[in-house]
Symmetry: C2
Subunit: 331 residues, 2 copies
């Protein structure tokens, strides 16, 4: 990004330079940012792209789109045990996007940059004849060698998740099919809660440090709990089992599932959770739980890992569940 | 990026994991990459996005699109004096993109990753109902404090450019308006040369180190020589003048301009050069020139900086040139 004389430059200078508070962003007046990573730390890098109509609704509030784009990336950093350092942002603007919408988008980026300590380091703005498209590269830091990986889960440990599972997937399904019986059972507040969880992920940045040195593996739940856990176990070369009854659900999700049990599958496989899924030894559970609780984030033990291959999901009646579509793919 | 069981995962594993040769990419099997920046070095970060129909033609060969996306980013690193470290890649795939086109795109990314020492560290693939869109974040390294900035040009120094100017802009104009008299004067080889310069930028990675400690300021010429130089001078709070006759032109550009003098303005203001524009003291010129020449890259002194404000472009007849549109903006 650069601030100079053209239309693009003026737009950037007005909307985005105030968010570029990191000295290495050079006020967005250069073609590149420069950062001096703290000695003894590794840099963690992640990059997620979002497309209108695929990852959000084209008529979602632009500020919410911005926050979602920030948060899905910050969620990846958190699951790796990394503290946010900053973000690079590229977005492609359709011809019909209004200046007010751009303002609101910049407000969302700026708000989350401040909230999560992830200032804008640079990026690019381009035009597109297609849908609004956002790509963010997030940078974080961890003490050298302490990034929490996905493929390093150990057998004989606890499988835990933060927060509640399935709210984002139910919020999406509620927007797509509001007439389903499970959603008719919700009061307005519960329905709004689920929709908000889809629109505004809550990256668990506050537990990132607590994962370091404790979790043998972690990832954020973005494509559905069952599919993501199966992926982690396969990458780690181990097996695991979870109990559906121990998967933490919000009150809204409970009401919906009680009225329409088929929504349990949506909850377990739907995606858009942006909670943290981790595997850790039993003796670390208390300390992790205390640190998470102090940050206002719930933790639930949902199962165990063991030697072998595969993931078993036990139903409330003790039988093993199988899923038509164990994982959600935006792709 | 991650390699697992879904369609996206399989695509990534097959096409992109082989390019992710940096150990920190973790074989694209995690949600993030981890790098340990070398002690005593700063990290230089840049991010450019390209959209079909805006930055390249939708029917350009996918391998060329990939190379252009890599090279416009590597060009930014080179102008900052940075050695490439790696790239993160996100791209949005339209429904009608064939597997063969994706193969070719991956080949282009992989080819340039090897050619320039910029392995794939991670990224994201998404679907889009819109045009093919590519976003790359490139990371480079410089010895601490030695990034060559844009806003630090000093008065009383030489203004230099690498290579030849205007070929990319003429190549684009030739594709858009092949019937112009300047292009009718070209033989097939000269026309192909200009089109190739538009399609395949040549990032001046080989002179990056020679800029460090020598240039008081540098940037790559992406939006037109005159506009980019004006931007650098304004950011630095100084003035400058260049002579159009000293701007280095390729033989093809010379022929086109001789037949149609109006194309000189396209050359000076058109963009897509991806040459390096720098300001440096006279006593550094010989050393820089020798290092660039050894790397097979020409260097031309085109003017001087001085105290004051503004940029004067002197024509061949000694008069001052003015431009309808001093800078090209993709935005």
């Amino acid at each position: 990004m650069s601030a100079g004389g053209s239309g693009e430059d003026k737009l950037i200078a007005r909307l985005f330079a105030p968010i570029a508070t990191h000295p290495g962003a050079l006020g967005l007046k250069d073609d590149a940012a420069v950062i001096a990573p703290p000695p003894g730390y590794d840099l963690v890098l992640t990059k997620d792209a979002l497309v209108a109509g695929e990852h959000f609704f084209a008529d979602d509030p632009p500020e919410s789109i911005a926050r979602k784009a920030m948060r899905v990336n910050l969620s990846d950093l958190a699951a790796k045990g990394a503290d946010p350092l900053g973000v690079l942002l590229a977005f492609a603007i359709p011809a019909d996007m209004t200046p007010e919408a751009l303002d609101a988008f910049a407000r969302g980026i700026g708000g989350d940059a401040r909230l999560y300590g992830a200032p804008l380091l640079g990026g690019d703005t381009v035009k597109t004849p297609g849908p609004f498209t956002v790509s963010i590269t997030a940078l974080g830091t961890v003490p050298a060698g302490q990034m929490v990986r996905r493929a390093s889960a150990r057998p004989g440990q606890a499988i835990i998740v933060t927060g509640t599972i399935g709210d984002g997937a139910l919020g999406l399904e509620l927007r797509l099919n509001p007439e389903r019986p499970g959603f008719k059972a919700l009061d307005a507040k519960a329905a709004d809660y689920l929709k908000d969880r889809y629109l505004h992920p809550r990256p668990r940045v506050a537990v990132a440090r607590a994962l370091r040195g404790r979790a043998s593996a972690a990832m954020d739940v973005s494509d559905g709990l069952v599919g993501d856990l199966a992926k982690m176990l396969a990458a780690s070369g181990i097996a695991g089992e979870i109990e559906a009854a121990r998967v933490p659900l919000s009150p809204a999700a409970r009401v919906a599932i009680e009225s329409e049990p088929a929504l349990l599958e949506t909850t377990l496989t739907g995606g858009d959770d942006y909670e943290i899924l981790a595997v850790m030894p039993d003796h670390e559970l208390d300390a992790f739980n205390n640190l998470a609780t102090a940050a206002g984030i719930g933790v639930a033990v949902i199962g165990r890992t063991h030697e072998g291959r595969g993931l078993a999901v036990h139903a409330h009646d003790g039988g093993q569940m199988s899923f038509a579509r164990p994982s959600f793919s935006h792709f």
